[in-house]
Amino acid sequence: MRGGWLHWTVAALAAAFLAAPSLVVLGASFTAGNIVAFPPEGFSLRWYGQVLSSTALRGAFLRSLEVAAVCTAVAIPAGTLAAVALARWRFRRATAIQLYLLLPFTVPLIGSGIGLMLLFGELRLLGAVWPVGLAACVINLPFMIWAVAASVNGLDPELERAAANCGAGPAQTFLLVTLPAVAPGVVAGALLMFILALNEFLVSLLLVDARTVTLPVHVYNSIRAVITPDLAAVSSIFVLAAAAAIWALDRLVGLDIFLKAK
């Protein structure tokens, strides 16, 4: 294999480093005690029982799914079109546009949250769940744009030209040649947007109320009081759901689709 052992060692260490805290949290969720500790004190599923029987947590999880769905649904068209535009046309102030589109990352999240709270408050949108999804979309939008842009850059312009020469109209070329070609980027970006929206807490904190609280906000608020093993159990169930989603995605489109951007 090319690359040599050094490369692979670094990759393996990085993988272990990524997994470590998650594994600890997973392990801690099986404790029989009242304190989050690792290794756990004894083994018990009591915290899982508590989590699964909580209707409040189930409601919060469903709302988080809604937030993630709204976020992804808005991000896919907005991010894809923007990435195609930026990659395919020359803009006179390209850098300025890039920096503008980077604002979601350069404005601290608390600032974004306060601003969106005031805006949605003026518009009387607070209290609904979908604006939280819209907010999650705004603050993570650069991810979507870049994921797609990476694929657009990989797309050979000749392919589009060939389609046009064969008589395809511009809309057809776009829909049938350009879009499929950037699909890996769209999938990668959409996946990322979905996950990030599912986990967003800092901006959501300012936009939800007790009736519309999402799961990460609930976890954040609870952790502020005391970290109990049920929070570790919530995270574990989350990971399990994630693993299922990843597995399904793998079966449907192939997980490594975005690694084949050509």
Partner: protein, 340 residues
């Protein structure tokens, strides 16, 4: 749908609705079948609509494509506008209301405070250090992921990448509290070796450590598509011309992956600079970043004026860092190859 007709070099006029060669439906329907497939007629309708777009508006198309994204970010702009106004008003702590008239007092207070500069230094240094470490780790990870021939290994690396995302930032930071605590796993391991215990938590390096762990998946995700887009043949060609593997990497792969590296650096640098949760949890209260100062002003002291001023200063710093990165790349990270 916006007007693709305005796209340069897309051919003049609208041809008949011949399906593009890539369409699987092309075969059976051609040659006067009973009817065109529905999808063709839909495409026809779209082309028809496209034709209505005035030719003079051609320059507007690219802006139309960009418009939804611009509009979404504009939602933030509104808040920034409100904050720009608030940053010029001083809080009166006898009534907890902002002053009627404008002044630069909040900026003077922020820039004249040692705590501000200490946290600013800490945030900027973290942005630099975390970016460099993340790129150094993400490159081998992404490279291994895109180049391995074992589908199993690739999937494992991918899952390893995505799973941490699902354990939110806060819970993950608590995971580190357990691992690195005074009586945690790491110190137990050290104790078994007759070392320690060392105080690992609540130090600046620990905050950086936690940040690297948080940002690494982002960096890999930004980098992987760029690496995947480099044909392996290019590398092999370089090697067959006598370049050693490290030389091929340095002179062929890395330059070609530059857009991905820049994108990864932009993401990691800006997100680190503005991070709040990791320093709050792993920093033990004495390793605050600028975003923690923002938090303090908005939530703890309720000084919306000073909070707004620091928010704007931090946004300016982030934009400057991003601008420098883009400029250093010589080209914008996007639209390099495809721009016409």
């Amino acid at each position: 749908m916006t007007d693709p007709d305005a796209r340069p070099q897309s051919g003049s006029g609208l041809g008949p609705a011949t399906g593009p060669e890539t369409s699987p439906e092309t075969g059976p329907a051609r040659g006067g079948g009973p009817a065109y497939p529905l999808s063709w007629r839909l495409l026809d309708a779209i082309e028809g609509l496209a034709a209505l777009w005035p030719a003079r508006a051609s320059g507007a198309v690219k802006w139309a494509l960009l418009a939804p994204a611009l509009a979404l970010v504009a939602l933030l702009l509104w808040g920034l506008g409100v904050m720009a106004d608030a940053s010029l008003r001083e809080m009166d702590f006898r009534t907890y209301r902002l002053s009627e008239d404008w002044s630069l007092a909040n900026y003077a207070r922020a820039l004249g405070s040692g705590a501000f500069w200490a946290t600013a230094r800490r945030s900027l240094l973290a942005a630099a250090v975390v970016t460099i470490i993340c790129l150094a780790l993400a490159f081998p990870y992404a490279y291994a992921m895109t180049r391995t021939r074992s589908a199993r290994l690739r999937k494992l690396l991918l899952v390893g990448l995505f799973l941490p995302f699902f354990i939110g930032q806060v819970v993950r930071a608590y995971g580190w509290l357990i691992v690195l605590g005074q009586e945690g796993l790491a110190n137990e391991a050290l104790g078994a070796l007759g070392l320690g215990p060392w105080r690992m938590l609540f130090q600046y390096p620990t905050v950086l450590f936690g940040l690297v762990q948080y940002m690494l998946p982002f960096a890999v995700l930004m980098l992987a598509p760029a690496l995947a887009a480099i044909p392996e043949e290019v590398e092999r060609a370089a090697e067959s011309c006598g370049a050693s593997w490290p030389r091929a990497l340095l002179h062929v792969v890395i330059p070609m992956a530059l857009p991905g590296l820049i994108a990864a650096a932009l993401v990691v640098a800006t997100l680190t600079l503005t991070d709040f949760a990791t320093p709050a949890i792993l920093g033990g209260g004495t390793n605050d970043f600028l975003a923690n100062l923002v938090y303090d002003q908005f939530f703890r002291t309720s000084d919306a004026g000073l909070g707004s001023a620091i928010t704007l200063l931090l946004t300016l710093a982030g934009t400057t860092v991003a601008g420098v990165l883009l400029a250093a790349a010589g080209v914008a990270a996007l639209g390099v190859r495809g721009a016409r």
